[in-house]
Symmetry: D2
Subunit: 462 residues, 4 copies
Amino acid sequence: AKLWGGRFEESVTAVVEKFTESISYDKALYKHDIRGSKAHASMLAKQGMISTSDRDSILEGLDEIERKIEAGEFVWRTDREDVHMNIEAALTDIIGEPAKKLHTARSRNDQVLTDFRLWCRDAIDTIAESIKRLQISLVKLALNNKDLIVPGYTHLQRAQPVLLQHLLLAYVEQLERDAGRLLDCRVRLNFCPLGACALAGTGLPIDRFMTAEILEFTAPMRNSIDAVSDRDFVLEFLSANSITAVHLSRLGEEWVLWASEEFGFITPSDSVSTGSSIMPQKKNPDPMELVRGKSARVIGDLVTLLTLCKGLPLAYNRDLQEDKEPTFDSVKTIVGMLEVSAEFAQNITFNQERIQKALPAGHLDATTLADYLVKKQIPFRTSHDIVGRAVALCVSKNCQLKDLSLDEMRSLNPVFDEDVYDYLGVENAVKKFSSYGSTGSACVASQLDCWVTTLGIDKSKP
Amino acid sequence: AKLWGGRFEESVTAVVEKFTESISYDKALYKHDIRGSKAHASMLAKQGMISTSDRDSILEGLDEIERKIEAGEFVWRTDREDVHMNIEAALTDIIGEPAKKLHTARSRNDQVLTDFRLWCRDAIDTIAESIKRLQISLVKLALNNKDLIVPGYTHLQRAQPVLLQHLLLAYVEQLERDAGRLLDCRVRLNFCPLGACALAGTGLPIDRFMTAEILEFTAPMRNSIDAVSDRDFVLEFLSANSITAVHLSRLGEEWVLWASEEFGFITPSDSVSTGSSIMPQKKNPDPMELVRGKSARVIGDLVTLLTLCKGLPLAYNRDLQEDKEPTFDSVKTIVGMLEVSAEFAQNITFNQERIQKALPAGHLDATTLADYLVKKQIPFRTSHDIVGRAVALCVSKNCQLKDLSLDEMRSLNPVFDEDVYDYLGVENAVKKFSSYGSTGSACVASQLDCWVTTLGIDKSKP
Amino acid sequence: AKLWGGRFEESVTAVVEKFTESISYDKALYKHDIRGSKAHASMLAKQGMISTSDRDSILEGLDEIERKIEAGEFVWRTDREDVHMNIEAALTDIIGEPAKKLHTARSRNDQVLTDFRLWCRDAIDTIAESIKRLQISLVKLALNNKDLIVPGYTHLQRAQPVLLQHLLLAYVEQLERDAGRLLDCRVRLNFCPLGACALAGTGLPIDRFMTAEILEFTAPMRNSIDAVSDRDFVLEFLSANSITAVHLSRLGEEWVLWASEEFGFITPSDSVSTGSSIMPQKKNPDPMELVRGKSARVIGDLVTLLTLCKGLPLAYNRDLQEDKEPTFDSVKTIVGMLEVSAEFAQNITFNQERIQKALPAGHLDATTLADYLVKKQIPFRTSHDIVGRAVALCVSKNCQLKDLSLDEMRSLNPVFDEDVYDYLGVENAVKKFSSYGSTGSACVASQLDCWVTTLGIDKSKP
Amino acid sequence: AKLWGGRFEESVTAVVEKFTESISYDKALYKHDIRGSKAHASMLAKQGMISTSDRDSILEGLDEIERKIEAGEFVWRTDREDVHMNIEAALTDIIGEPAKKLHTARSRNDQVLTDFRLWCRDAIDTIAESIKRLQISLVKLALNNKDLIVPGYTHLQRAQPVLLQHLLLAYVEQLERDAGRLLDCRVRLNFCPLGACALAGTGLPIDRFMTAEILEFTAPMRNSIDAVSDRDFVLEFLSANSITAVHLSRLGEEWVLWASEEFGFITPSDSVSTGSSIMPQKKNPDPMELVRGKSARVIGDLVTLLTLCKGLPLAYNRDLQEDKEPTFDSVKTIVGMLEVSAEFAQNITFNQERIQKALPAGHLDATTLADYLVKKQIPFRTSHDIVGRAVALCVSKNCQLKDLSLDEMRSLNPVFDEDVYDYLGVENAVKKFSSYGSTGSACVASQLDCWVTTLGIDKSKP
């Protein structure tokens, strides 16, 4: 019989039981549920609502249950609905009467939110660590590919030459903000709902500050209705994950492009590639395709949760039970994406020779040439136009800017001089960059140093 | 070793293997994979690409594998990546050499789509049946609640009196279109990709019409690149599910409202209600809350799939592996929602007395009164205004329209006569409806008859 | 004063008026609103509810209003809330008393849905034509690039050689299904809600079959509550658009890739390219980037509408007013995407020479070689493995398969013979394809012929 | 001719121009574009790249343009593509040559992001103020409805009695977190991209710290590629808006329920209600329905942007132009939702008498009774069961708990005593709550005081 069965004359049908159960997934909360129950029992004892010996029985019983679960010996029962009822009922099976006092001044409404906030807090810490690991992998990749110039793209058209290091650090920056969002979310969610009970609090003499402290929350939540009804902490969490997922999808796209025959920038090792069941020559960068693809799922999880919460009146509604699976899926997916991206980063080789050979294509030095003219006092718009015509000339002659003779350049504008050749060619172009945050070697080196320090990387170990 | 390992010198890392595997969920396709392989083997034999005895070994081996899977004796191996490779490798374990010929003129690209289309086709049939069952439950509920008048709402404000039957049939209409969408989707997806191979077809002498026919597809797909790269059939399927889910979420909301103390229209039986762990008096309509909530998940699954496919170049990309889990989840969820809604419909009682007592509130006969004036040749806009003032009078007197004296009404407009009282009161108001599709008793009875016939309901059995 | 003001003592505040108005966008429905009102007036007259002369005044007044709107002389007033009230009030300004009879046996609830279904029906026809125009552009592009072989990709890795025509026809197939979905949607939505009134129908003697027929609907809707409350027809419409948008995003991605320096398959003309404000050499395929990007918006519009409808009780709720802007945006966006894609298709040149030069890379003939072995009775799995090793040999020697000597091949398996060279090289590989739907020349030619006929293309005009 | 036209021989077609233009909406950025250009010009002058007199011409010309725009005298031209080119070209029209130097060391890529970040920063400040206004309205509503007890709900079933003030403060708490999210977002986005140029920075001697300071950014962004390519600041902003929108949708739902005939808790004034075109008696809470509905649109905008960014390679891609319309729409919508909610809050009356009369229904004191038993040393589970049976008894007798005789109660358990009646009845039940954050009067009063102080509310003004 259900634990809430007092006024009920009939059990729920099999169809309803199967449709409404949550034990198949919320058992993932067991560790946090037990931790919360222990804190609650300790508080009940301190406040004199249960005896010290009842408390001790409860604590020992819960330890026994945790041990059983982790040993795979615990039997989860669907007829006991959810993780809370399974554990409480098992506790009753083990210790008897004292177990019936555990739910004093507590409802599943505040209990599940205590569990879930604890779980999310742990999950945030896990993701933050994975983010850092990926940052480290990217910085190491940068360290291992010093001085390599690659084309920078806009519109997937070659735009300007950039240092590979500079480009890799752009991802490190993104990830740093991702971690920042998680941290903000963590601070905001770290308040304790325990003691809000069903929705209105209780008249029993509980000490919410004590349980909050034991559970390492900043403080108890201030409003019991808010405590049991809102899910904004998960929405914020899944939003943060979605943004990280979008970042990773872009990294995925980029590396898939780079691994193509046409780009040919990187060669992933066999250990991060897969083959084809029919085409014997294929070697595919599957992990990064899946990173790109799985971003969709993290976004879908967020949409599920936003749509779920939309239009629900206060306070708790059963719909909210559906908050867990998308959250679990979002976390599992994003951790996988971060981990495999780090693994991939550690298993690619840059094809320096091939990149270098292809660099001249695309007139990557055109903007540097325009800057040259600006330095010669030509207004930028005019410079832009002159260089535009120089490029048109190169296209018609099928050559590079540096192949134009001084006379040819002077035919476009007399200001050109011999020193122009210091600005042409990809290597020269990169050397000219000097602004803060630019791809100039000194700027990039200084940024890289900052990251090495921030991330605590030991440069001696590749 | 992977089956595609010929050119590979290194296995994938554990992280990559775990991240890229699909066997944990695509084993759900086993039945369709085996069915497809049998058709393929038969065709290969008929076309002389394998011997009859090879074919027979293959067919028997596949039967054995299917038997094992259904008996729970089959060991799914993650290192064999997916359902296709698991079954093919197991076949090799059982029958040896001939198994190596099964993948002739086939790629996992066309194989998985054959499996997946077959699976979706079955799933559509299952959902269509569940829809019909819910329609039948709703029609039966209507049959069992003849003549019951309930308030019809707009803006959740009482608007006009309607027959409960009429209202229930609105849901039946929605569901009928839902089924229609699934049927259209089924027709459109029922073309066979098998033989498209990796993406370009094959030079081996296969007969795609034969396999299409064995597998009950309308015809083979016309373009091999299209066959392996597009997922529009799943997008359409999940769109159809999402629309159904929205319909059910509205039913859920309505029934949750109706079960509230404030509305009090229905009492769900204990067998479809649940209680509270803390509040002993609670009896909650959880199944319909979850129906409302789970709609979010069906929508989220669609968003996942749309986002997944966005911006992928031709042809197959590994991202597309992620098409399965959202589809499986969408189908499982929508079937559960339909089933539990039917179960709920069969377990509610309408509180006729309470409804009737509350009916007079809300001036539900106001529009009927305006129609009365129109019949007396007052232009509608003027009638609307007169009745508006009559309602204001009632509000100030705290009475109903039918409680106004003829003099009071005539003070608003002299055209009122004794016959006006035939138009007032909820019962009179309902009687006046006569237009096609309206809530008039005759119209509703005729619609109900149509549905009883269409759905093959035996009216003698409640 | 509002037309519904009878019982109201106070006007709405400015904040509320601004927030709730819809005239700023629903005026787009004016043509359909007028058409619906004309049908309604004609019916009222035929049924004797208004006089013939009232009807004629109404029809003339509506004509005058339509003329004014199209001449830009009509003043839309926010205090008149929406398109219906604006037109009805203007009609009263023009023809006086008879206008007050137009709203007889009609509510804005059924009126707006009549307008909206008519609008969607027209929009579907427009989109279907745009789809056809893009199909024609793609087929013409195929006709103009006969015999061009390009690499076919899976995982963005070169897989097998395919005819460009074959690849372009894959998009034509997708678009054909897109049109099919729209057509199904059109059939399903083409039922007339007019006469459902507020939600319950009416007691006035209207003829819903007459108005349905005048407005070219299949029939009146059968259930008045369903008629005013459901929005599944828009959800289905926006779903269809979303799927089309996903298809176009993939085309966009592909063409952006092809236009890159690295792929270099196509050169878009200057007339469909844009430049950079800073980098003088840039020429970007912006239209196709925006096609890819705008797909997001079509998906977002669908999500808006699904979320909007989720969890609303019957019947009409004001939330539903929000159905229009996402629909208008979806239609405008998808039409723009289709048009610009067709324009782009007409303005690209394939760089045949460059493509041909790059074709040997990627061992595109590996699968054809495996088929060769299968024809020599080697089981496919074994063949796959042998070719895998042959490819590994090529990689180590940095050569193509056709560069291997017969001895080298025989060292892998003795079955190789001189005839193997007929299977090697990209041109040979393509020639070998023969299965239905494959990239074999004959298959593609036949498919192309079908499309030329289906789309009514005059092959003599490029 | 386009400003980037140097190498182009042909203008874009009309279809492309219409499809790719952004001026129709990005003109909303004019103020921030001008502000950014002024900062840039000042910096160029200080760094010696333009003369002081050029700078002054530029600053004056920009002032003149701003004046014209605000006076409605400025002509926006589609052939000038976007807000940046429109303003720069107009500047050239006005001041000639010096204008051509403004774009020195700047690209539209960094320019638009500078504008957009400034715009978002302002928008955040606007929304934060609107949030505060709504909080104040809710707190005032609470202050004006002291001591009013309403049913608290879970599952939309009556659960426990709560103070209306407590319930209203739950929304104030939600909104406070919403504001916190915006603030975090503001801090994170407040870094300056200007000077990142196209993607790589520049070789010209710019001072990015100076422009950052003038524009009140915390600092320049550290990585130029990151600066022009990422949109996570908008994703975070729209996520925050979506969560706020979900909160408001719940408030909307609750108030729509409360305004229904069945609940009857509140009466909105005529000034925030609307009527029906057909049903003269209707008075609908439209603004809150639209608040609920418009949440869908804010969510849809977020989905658009997430989907847009998914899978784009570095750095800028034209797709990203589509970031603006969803953002503008999200901001406009959320501000409207907040404003109208505040307006609605100021225009509702609580129907105290009706609420009080209905309070006894639902056994809201059942949990308090269970607490009574706990205080008598009955374990909670047993107490819950006893009260469950007491409720069942009430249901069968159709009475309230307080109507049960002591004998009846003792028949359930002998521990009941006379003092039990101090725990029964809604008023008694509320009085018993005492835990921190509970609905007990003292707790609520203290929370209310905090909010009055935090929000700076003058309690003397209603």
